[in-house]
Amino acid sequence: MSAAKKRGPVSEILVQNLWWNNPIFIQVLGICSTLAVTNNLTNTAIMTIGVSLTTAFSSMSLSAMNKLIPNKVRMIVQVLVISFFVIIIDIVLRAYLPDISRSLGPYVGLIITNCIIMGRAEGFARSNPPLLSFWDGLTSGFGYMAVLMLIAVVRELLGFGSLFGIPLLSALLGAAFTPWTIMIMAPSAFFLVALVMWGAKTLQENMKIASKTAVQTKQGGAK
């Protein structure tokens, strides 16, 4: 990718996962949870933190035992490790943060279904050392978080008139504020994700063209 050669692996992974190879708008993974949770910023924040931690820890442990895992049961072991960390997060929340656990309810379990976690386990942790895999998992989660938070700001503001549950638009406009009901429901996230993809990809194309003409060297592909 552009300017890739100048960066070390740590910052390269960060830039890739946040921008050039973002899990949502480039890899198009984890879309189910993007549609489900982004109508509320608080839930989005907790969900994305949970996904980041799970991805980081499961990538790290899978990378650490990579040499031991037989190929035939590779995916079964991946699912085992991922669900292990999700259940640990659930247990910790239930014991020490019961209020958050209650308000999250099924969200914690939904982390398991997030394709990003297995995507990173397969795509990165298999062929990289544990600490780098941890970092890759964490930053992938951050890339996911950034897009989801962006979408959640739009949806909560237009659908409920609030941000993080604090009335904003509804308080400001009073009776003149009409909640845009479709923003609360899952289909609106479809349109917003599509807009984000469109915007991000257009911007990336422009950046590639700009850096090509600036450096006048041939660049490698995105993948």
């Binding site: 949770v37 509320n40 190929n71 035939k72 085992l80 247990i91 239930r94 020490y96 308000s103 309810g105």
Partner: protein
């Protein structure tokens, strides 16, 4: 031993499962008491809120509960009784199938089972942001003081217009969550009829 051999694969899978399940069981065992006391606190807070007993911090829940709530053991399970504002109120646990899992809640009624005094969700597995919104204050607040009709209450779907009238036994459903709203209506009505039969038998005293 070959990494892709049959014996190694079976042994590896077996051992890895034992190791991970061991740690899960350990974590579960270590936090069991905390989780149980959290759950008891959640249930007691819901009973207090449903009965209309105000508390300001979670520390007060246990002492308030012990001081004000008495448990009647009826043939339909425990009924929680408290006298609030000079009126006896009764609460009971209700449970019903939601869209994804069991919805557990507390329903409180007045002495003559004419009005709902309160409704609190204890736990649910409904879709976050859709059915999950039954746990939001606006939804639960609709129940307080609502008159119980001959058929119980009706949760209006589609035609709900922010109904503020406590006399018409009608409540607004959650937008985009017809099945969950229906489930709440069914479980509340079922409990109301249980309360009524209990009242007719003289069980509420």
């Amino acid at each position: 031993m070959k990494r892709d051999g049959m014996l190694y694969t079976v042994l590896f899978t077996f051992i890895i499962c034992i190791v991970f399940v061991f740690f899960l069981a350990l974590a579960n065992e270590l936090t069991k008491d905390r989780v149980a006391s959290n759950n008891r606190l959640t249930e007691r807070s819901a009973i207090l809120s449903a009965l209309g007993i105000a508390y300001t911090s979670p520390d007060q829940v246990d002492s308030l509960y012990d001081a004000q709530v008495s448990t009647l053991n009826t043939d339909q399970g425990p009924v929680y009784k408290a006298t609030v504002e000079g009126q006896a109120r009764y609460a009971a646990k209700v449970a019903g199938p939601g869209l994804w899992g069991t919805i557990r809640a507390i329903l409180a009624v007045d002495e003559r089972v004419e009005r709902i005094e309160g409704f609190q969700i204890v736990s649910h597995n409904e879709t976050p942001g859709l059915g999950g919104r039954i746990d939001e204050p606006w939804f639960k607040a609709q129940f307080r003081g609502e008159k119980i009709g001959p058929q119980g209450i009706a949760v209006l779907q589609g035609s709900g217009k922010g109904d503020p009238d406590p006399e018409n036994s009608q409540l607004d459903a959650v937008t985009g969550a017809s099945r969950t709203s229906q489930a709440v209506q069914d479980m509340v009505n079922k409990e109301i009829s249980l309360f009524k039969s209990l009242r007719d038998k003289g069980g509420l005293q």
